[in-house]
Symmetry: C2
Subunit: 349 residues, 2 copies
């Protein structure tokens, strides 16, 4: 794979492939958005301040408009944070989402990577993170982390946030997958965002609300932090449909609860079935995707065999500290999950 | 007005106001796009390479996919160009679109402004531009220029491009409004883009195709230049609807011809009528908007009086070298244009 290549690039494969490489909500998007797509919205610039959209997010997370910024997916906000703070030496616990590294490198920085130990099943020891703080100018951390599926509970994250605050080190917590966690309230950093200057928490409609084509991300921070980011932000990056849809989705509590229930059940099924396969090491996950390791096979061979069976997995070899034994799969419909298990069993028999 | 405030921010005014401040195609958008808005497109990431979209643009402008980049409106491409080339001292003939200055300043640069002389009706003398080249590291130029409405013909632009090429100075030509010009072929730099490394030509669906809410911009350059920009580009910045709509609009030749005819007639009407008003200096324009100057009034007072009559104009006082005597209006429907003329006559009587 290319250095920064992602999953979900189905355009290079057969269109009918079942895409386990992209970790999007398998239930689709909230039905309530069907009425909010009005072509007339395209004839006007979106509100450059996105006041109504922020109000909707505000109700969802319990923060004020002044603590909220919106962006073109989480991606824009990641790059914006790196630029606004001129980050040159962030700590990135890894393996991690590839765009953190790319954003820092493009801004002329050079991250310090903390290798999350595989022996512990990729659980992050916050004391070890904090021990690295004297060598870095910032921290970028996914919670839950992609591709490992592991998370840090709020009380442990608080240790990171408080220590960073003491040292004036900006912290970005990427919560793009947090709402998939069954007891996600125990993992959120949202409530700290307004009180700790230099803490930036990112989310997106992309994964949990099943809308990667829409391009809607959002983030939280103190009023000072949000002002600093807005000062560097490019104008109108959230399109008119994303603005309209974003005013609806956060009210659909039923969709969110159904999603969490569904993910919980299907992850249990996948974990259970895949653990029966001797060739595989299965890493337990909190969220809607999981990391796996092949004991003897190369992922390229498995991927090729599965593609013949109409199934696309995420070759995880381009994540830092992983290699050609690792791959990632996301939860799809139950029938598709069954097909995945059976196909893997058949190939690795 | 705030330093970087734009027209078109109707959200702070009464919703029923006739918006002459935003210079969008008054005919709306091509009808052919109605079928291309399919909500299902939101459930997938857009093609990160935008191959089909680029093919459509390719047919429109007669360049190869390798010479094309797409972005979240022209705005993203302006900022991207500044970052990819680390521009610190671009020449910006001014008054000019405010985002050029903002993009450079945010990247830590300090533009050199060449004041376009009002005496000549804001016509740009290319020799004077070229004379500044020894003091700058790049050139950013709107063609036609916003807010003056004046353009540089291709043979004259060639002088700028060739001299910049000799000096290895990157040039960005912003053609966001060029298709409104009746004989726009005489002004285009598109055909030079593939042959001159470091020439970047920008366009957008925003203005000419009447789709500011969609967020679709595109640009042309040599293969080298496009590769350099892609290396710095953030992923998935063009949303799925913009991708789909962008595959349609460039085929609608009828819409484009109707627009040019309409603009030509209405600009003639507006120019003619507004020139009858003693208090006004009207600057002739090539495109769909025009700059005007008040001889004695302050624009704030005129704007307030027109707002009482349901009409919003663009206070142009925050453009460099303009002050509180200047404003800009765009062509709207004929009935609205008549209302504008009558309201201005009434206020300035």
């Amino acid at each position: 794979m290319d250095k920064y290549e992602h999953g979900g690039n189905i355009y290079v494969y057969d269109e009918d492939v079942i895409d386990f490489s992209s970790n999007i909500n398998p239930l689709g998007f909230p039905e309530c958005i069907r009425d909010s797509i009005d072509i007339a919205a395209l004839t006007k610039y979106p509100d450059i301040n996105y006041t109504q959209l922020k109000r909707s997010i505000s109700r969802y997370v319990g923060l004020k408009n002044e603590n909220i910024i919106v962006g073109n997916g989480a991606a824009e906000l990641i790059y914006l944070f790196v630029r606004a703070f001129s980050l040159k030496r962030p700590l990135i616990p890894s393996p991690a989402f590839l765009e953190y590294e790319r954003a820092v490198t493009l801004s002329g920085g050079n991250p310090l990577y903390y290798q999350i130990p595989e022996e512990d099943g990729y659980v992050i020891d916050v004391d070890k993170i904090v021990n690295c703080f004297k060598e870095v100018d910032s921290v970028i951390i996914g919670n839950p982390n992609n591709p490992t599926g592991k998370g840090i509970k709020s009380d442990e994250m608080m240790i990171i946030i408080k220590e960073a605050y003491k040292r004036n080190i900006p912290v970005m917590v990427d919560e793009a997958f947090i709402e998939f966690i069954n007891d996600f309230q125990q993992y959120e950093s949202t409530q700290f965002a307004k009180d700790y200057d230099d803490l930036f928490v990112i989310r997106a409609a992309t994964k949990f609300f099943g809308l990667p084509g829409l391009r809607l991300g959002y983030g939280f921070g103190s009023e000072n932090l949000i002002k600093r980011l807005e000062a560097y932000k490019e104008p109108w990056t959230v399109n008119a449909f994303a603005d309209a849809v974003g005013r609806k989705i956060f009210d659909d509590v039923k969709f969110m609860e159904n999603t969490r229930k569904y993910i919980r059940e299907e992850i249990a099924y996948l974990t259970n079935e895949l653990k029966k396969i001797d060739e595989l090491v299965v890493f337990d996950t909190l969220t809607n995707f999981m990391l796996l390791k092949l004991k003897h096979w190369h992922v390229g061979d498995l991927k090729e065999e599965l593609l013949k069976r109409g199934i696309l997995i995420r070759d995880a070899s381009n994540f830092r500290y992983l290699d050609n034994r690792y791959f990632r799969v996301a939860v799809k419909s139950h029938d598709d999950n069954v097909k995945l298990v059976e196909a893997i069993k058949e190939v690795l028999k």
